[in-house]
């Protein structure tokens, strides 16, 4: 499976999910499970780093939307790191860029949580 998903704690209640490779109709369930694993486990801020992602389709976007909705329902922070123009463009085309809190780097995102 051409995707990598790694979760790490950077601070109390703050988690970073680093994603690499291709997020598509086949691999997106792995990202979805990683985000679900962080639900109701004390995480109050979640950063999803997509800077290692080479391909993102609507299924991957759907998983991110699901993560954002769950976070908002719980009053948690959900930020997405995306500086790759090719991937950022997909957020723009679908008018989702303003919906997510997009940052260029993980450090930028962590500074805001």
């Amino acid at each position: 499976m051409n995707i990598s998903v790694e979760t790490r704690r950077v601070d109390d209640g703050i988690a970073v999910v680093t994603v690499g490779g291709e997020v598509d109709v086949y691999t997106a369930p792995r990202l979805k499970q990683a985000l679900l694993d962080l639900t109701d486990d004390g995480t109050r801020a979640l950063v999803v780093d997509l800077n290692g992602v080479e391909y993102l389709d609507s299924t991957g976007l759907g998983v991110l939307i699901g993560g954002l909705k769950r976070a908002r329902e719980r009053g948690e922070t959900f930020r997405v790191v995306c500086a790759t123009p090719r991937i950022r463009r997909i957020f723009d085309i679908t008018d989702l860029a303003p919906v997510f809190d997009l940052d260029a780097t993980e450090a930028d995102a962590l500074a805001k949580v």
Partner: protein, 134 residues
């Protein structure tokens, strides 16, 4: 080295399962690279064909293990046309949350998109066309 003549049409049949969509995208890369598309346009084509396959698979929703998708990549004089043919189902799966997003992506990325049901052939055909630059 003389340029080899363009191959007019390539056909690919894959199982209607998510794990095989990457093969359809890979074939798209190979065909589009034979035409004067930019890197971004080739990526647009890869994404659009992947979305068309994903939509077809989601509609079938694991209905039958033997279902297949047949893709035709046709190099036309001024465009690349791709058809994704899938079995026509009497009661398609319920729409998913990502279906509308896939539709938006395909329509923005391609110059022409049509979906046609062919009851006699038992097929739904999604046709994507990307005009070649120049």
């Amino acid at each position: 080295v003389a340029a080899s003549p363009l191959v007019p049409e390539i056909e690919l049949t894959i199982p209607a399962q998510a794990e095989f969509v990457g093969i359809a995208r890979l074939a798209m890369l190979g065909v589009a690279s034979r035409m004067p598309f930019s890197f971004d346009e080739v990526e647009d084509l890869r994404l659009a064909v992947g979305e068309a396959c994903a939509l077809s698979i989601e509609r079938l929703n694991g209905r039958a293990a033997g279902d297949t998708l047949t893709l035709s990549y046709r190099i036309e004089p001024a465009a690349l046309a791709v058809e994704v043919r899938s079995p026509l189902t009497p009661s398609p799966a319920e729409a998913t949350e990502t279906g509308p997003l896939a539709d938006v992506l395909i329509r923005v990325l391609m110059d022409e998109v049509t979906t046609e049901d062919q009851p006699d052939a038992g097929l739904r055909v999604i046709r994507l066309v990307k005009n070649a630059p120049g």
